[in-house]
Amino acid sequence: MTRVFACLGLLLACLLPLAPLPAGAQAQAQETPEPRIRVGISMERSSSIFSDQIASLRVFFRDIGRDRFTLHPLPPDELMQAIRNRQLDAAFLNPYQTAYAQYLDQRARPLVTFKASMPAGRVGGVGGVVLVRSGTTEIRELSDLRGRQVAIPHRLSFGGYAAPLYELHMADPALPDSLKISASGTHRDALEALLAGSADAAFIDTVVLEQLTDDGVVDRESVRVINAQDLPAYPAVTSTRLYPGWTLVGLPSLTAAQTDTMLAVLLDVRRRSIGGLHGDFSLAHSYEPVHRMLRELGLPPYHRTPALSWQDIWRNEPRTMLLWASITFVVFLLAGFLFIYARRIRALFQQEKLNARRERALRDMPTDVEPVDILPFVREQLDVVKGLTRSGFAGIYRVNAQTREIEAYAMAASALGADTAEPLDSEPLLPGGGWAECSESTCALTVNDYGGSRQQQPLPGACGPVERLLLSPVEAGSGALILGVANKSAAYDAQDLKTVELLSAQIWGTVRRSEAEAQLVARDREARASADLLQGIFDSFAGGIVVYSGAGGIQLINPMASEFFGIGARDAIGRRLTDYGWQFCDRDGQPMNQGSDPAARVMLQRTPISNLTVGVCRSDAQPSAWILVNVRPLLDSAGDIARIVVSFSDITSMRKAEAELEHQAYYDSLTGVPNRTLGIESLKLAMQQCQRRGRRVAVAYIDLDNFKEVNDSHGHEVGDMLLKVLAARMHVALREGDTLARIGGDEFVAVLCDLQRETDCLPVVERLLSLSTEPVTLDEKVLSPTASIGISFYPQGEVALDAEQLLRQADHAMYQAKTEGRNCFRLFDQASNQLLENKHQLVNDVRRGLTADEFCLHYQPKVDLVTGEIRGAEALIRWQHPERGLLAPARFLVPLENHSVLIDLGDWVIDQALRDLSSLPTSQRDLAVSVNISPPQLLVEGFAESIRERLAAYPAIEGRQLELEILETSALENTRDVAEVITRCAEFGVHFALDDFGSGYSSLVYLQALPIDTLKIDQTFVRNMTHESADLAILRAIVSLAQALDIRIVAEGAETEEHCRLLRALGCEVAQGYAFARPMPLAELVRWLDDWQPSRALAGGRVTAPAPAPAPAIGAD
């Protein structure tokens, strides 16, 4: 800064001569018409440099021609004095002085700021530098300056005082006051003081260090800068923030014109190059930051008010202080007294309040509570006790003197951290724990130093230390229940004890009273509930209950019994059922003894009756109802009958149902006459009786003729009515003692017993026949039924017979009657019986043979007479009978004609044929097989469907490979049904042939009505065929007829070459017979087929098997 000042001084010296102040300046101002501007400047450095620079620059300013300024260099404090005294118009001031000047008069205006030029750049702001000797190691940062000796230029220096002080203040506000500051006069002096060791640090302006170093005054290495700021843009070193620099301040006396002049000159400096002037001027900044700094530091002109201490006051005003101390003492004394009295009064008030609260608690306590509310009530009241005694805990504990245990009964909520909802365990009772003592002595116990001196009794359900304790037995004279309160903040006193005793007595009184009442109520309720339950059962019992008194009168009767007997419950009391006209009978309907009913019987016998079925009736009438009765005598303490309880259930409907079932088992539901079972039973009975009496029995088997037609043409309802009418008529025809039974659809049996002779039955039989054949008008239709009757007798000499056999004989005789023209009766004879027996035997044998797999099929091939090819084979049944050898069909089929067993046999044949077909070698698998089928089988319901299912079981066989040959019989008369079956079978390819055409019932109608594919000409025509025979003519006609109808023809019985030739000539294409092959087992057929040469057919074929008699297939072959 030294050089800066030098420059400034130089500049101003150029402008104005140096002048002494103040008197000289004053005088000059008066003499000069145009007053010069007085400019003050702070003298802070050596004057030799100052004067050197003045000399060199004065020339420049003289050239400018302005000489209207006087310069007044003054020491800093004198300079500020001159400003205060308005002796100056302007002054060059450092920032501190500038702020000071502004403080002194607000009209002081910073006009231009000097910006020194340094080699490193223009100095746009100033700050302070804190220096220590470079050898000093203990001062590294600002805080290390605490308490140190610091050399400064003077106390109005900015960079040398205020700025570093402020930096210290920012680091620690206590730091500036701790410094020992000595003002050296100038920056150089301060530095020298530092270097001389008389100070630990020195504060100087920025730039000064650089200039003094340049001047060689200071060795830069000898000093070290503390808190150097990292500001490369600033050309000098600084330890502080930067502030606006030296400024020319226009003081209040400076006129506007003077201001303009000064600004014009100074701002112009920048444009000119002035040798020796290192810097220029620019418009001044605001010095507010400097003001702020001074304010915060409390530096002049700002001041910090020093703190006022007690010593200062004591020093200045000892009397006043004594007075105040005395007053304070008195006030405290009075306050103490007041405090004590207030406490006493408050205690009295509290006592009163406690009494009132206690009374209110006693008054408000319920006098009785519901049983379920007892525990909550006790808890609630314990809370009241706890509140009244200001305790931290209140609880009632049960002390068990025997087990020496203590268990919780109830606790005030939130007592000692207790969980009042949890069931609580017990704890061992500790002697010395207070509770044991209280329980034993049954006296109250107060322990105010429980926490310190006593052994602590652990309390179930409560945790936490107990400091003070007050215990009181809940009931006077009993130590079983103890009410305890604990942890009052103050000691328990007599009032607390009184509170506990009063309340616990009242609480327990309420509890006891409530418990007693609750017990009474509970007992009453139970009794009522029990009575209600019994009454409910009595009233709602599904059976009847009648209770008699020991005297025999009715005491109680339940609604069901009341309703059953139709008597009022109240009205019946004291009376008997017989008084109302009720009588009782036993299971068989026999009246019980006069005046006796089951109750009366028990009264006499004194033993109970169980499940007795009793009929109930009015007077002597038939029982109107049946009941199942149980009777129990109830004895009194003396062993006499006190009551009799009769319970019964109505079983009338059950009895009725039983009777109905019985009737259904033995009687025909349609006609009401006995059924087969009862009929047989009656027959057996009659057989037994007549044997004893030496009489005879006749069995008449009655079968209505053509009854099926009645059903078919008029419907089943008419049929049923007819049966009913005829049954009734037949019943009339019989004698008393005879039995009529219906044993089948239209079959009746009359058992005529007690006959002296066999012929005695004939009038009855004739009557039966005539009544059965009388016309019947039903539904406006007149029916004329007829009947066939077969009669058998018992006994038959020495022959042992049973009822079934007798019946079968009558059946056989009836069959005879049927076959002999119907509407007649026939007596059974033994010969026809034998046939019947044989047939019966044969049927059983066939059934057995089927089961034993004794049947087999033989096959006879059919050959094309033109090509010689095989056109199929006919399956023919054979029976390998275990006793009779291989049987041809005629041996077992003919006797069984029309018997149902043939249907089973027919089924077997179809199945076996298909089985055989499927077992053929692949090359022969295409063979067609024809099977004989009887018309009744064809008409079995579902026949076509059964064929389809059978074929489906053999996927390898096609329907066309199966041909069914129908025998021409009377059964074929129903052409419509047969045609339908054929059509349905044709849907899956099965062919039909009419077998043995021309032999039996041959009718051309069949050819027209049945959609058959093939006609098989009966072998008798072929066998007897000669050139001239009538058979040939018939054959020719048949062939031409078949051709006309487009029906294939197969000739049976082709035995010779001649037959073949003739047949071929007739146009018959296919033939079968011994000419080609006899019927043979399957294995043989396979071989035969393999060997067959079609050319042979043309030659007439060849017989390959031994020829038994031509065998009929099923039906005929």
Partner: protein, 320 residues
């Protein structure tokens, strides 16, 4: 037995270790991106004075665009950005909130033209260089709007600020929207300022924007950051001489240039900060205006509200 001083030392060591441990357990430092700009330099200035501690880490970035990218990648938690950059960031899906205003541009951004262009209307069809992602686009959009033109009426040439001089000298462009110090360089070669941010007052804001995900757990840190920034801004107001040298030193630039740059921005006072965060403030107006301009110019895709744009929680209480 430990001597008194040994015990004290031990205590001190324990305390230091404990602090270190606690510091280790605390949140990672708040990383704030700062690209070179006079208005942002108050933050390093505050750091020099230790007004900002180690809980805040200053990360130098080359540009606001780089800062945005780093915010998106999670490298930064906060950044000093221009308001339009904040709006672009939000448009790109960044949840940003403004916690303090650093400065408003008042002449620092300008549209420079060749001397033959006298008004905005003459810009029609001209080639204009600018950094497409920068504030220049905003400047240009506002400028063109004042002349009744739109972006579509001019030919834009995307250029980094550093390339402008070369483009200008090669004659490849007729105008350039840029900011200090690049504007000064162009002016040095004869470019004329057609419009500057002085003509669009309180439109170009520089702000501190924070990624909202980073706020949780850093409330105290953000409060400290904002109060340090405001204290530093106050220092520029209170002691411009000192601040000038400090900022110049930080930027390593001549004082004269720093002074000029400072003249072209307005640093807000504490009261001004609070005003900016009020409803219907100039800052929100600017945001809406920028948003409107950008939507019209198809610069941003999605319309956005200002609902969570400002977060005044970290501002110190206004001086009473």
């Amino acid at each position: 037995m430990l001597s008194g001083s040994a015990f004290a030392r031990r205590c001190r060591i324990t305390a230091v270790l404990l602090c270190a441990l606690l510091a280790g357990c605390s949140e990672k430092p708040l990383r704030i991106g700062i690209n070179p700009w006079i208005g942002y330099d108050v933050i390093p200035m505050a750091q020099r004075w230790d007004w900002i501690g180690p809980e805040i880490e200053l990360v130098d970035t080359a540009s606001g665009a780089d800062s945005l990218a780093a915010l998106a990648s999670g490298e930064l938690h906060a950044a000093c950005l221009t308001l339009d950059e904040v709006i672009r960031g939000i448009d790109a899906g960044l949840p940003l909130s403004i916690v303090a205003v650093m400065d408003t541009s008042s002449g620092a951004d300008s549209l420079l033209v060749r001397p033959d262009i006298a008004d905005v209307a003459q810009l029609r069809g001209r080639r204009i260089a600018l950094q497409a992602s920068g504030v220049g686009m905003l400047m240009l959009t506002a400028a063109l709007e004042s002349g009744g033109l739109s972006i579509a009426d001019v030919q834009l040439i995307d250029a980094k600020s550093g390339q402008l001089l070369e483009l200008w000298q090669s004659g490849a462009v007729d105008a350039a929207a840029t900011y200090e110090p690049f504007a000064r360089v162009l002016r040095g070669t004869g470019a004329r300022t057609l419009l500057s941010s002085r003509d669009t007052p309180e439109l170009i804001f520089d702000v501190i924007a924070v990624h909202r995900d980073a706020i949780a757990g850093r409330q105290k840190t953000l409060e400290k950051l904002v109060s340090a920034v405001l204290r530093a801004q106050a220092h520029v107001h209170d002691n411009p001489v000192d601040a000038l040298y400090r900022l110049a030193s930080l930027q390593d630039k001549p004082v004269r240039i720093t002074e000029e740059e400072l003249r072209r921005i307005v640093l807000p006072t504490l009261d001004a900060q609070h005003r900016y965060f009020e409803q219907d403030s100039a800052l929100l107006h600017a945001a809406r205006r920028i948003h409107g301009l950008f939507v019209d110019a198809r610069i941003i895709q999605r319309p956005q509200g200002n609902a969570r744009l400002l977060d005044a929680r970290f501002l110190p209480e206004p001086a009473s």
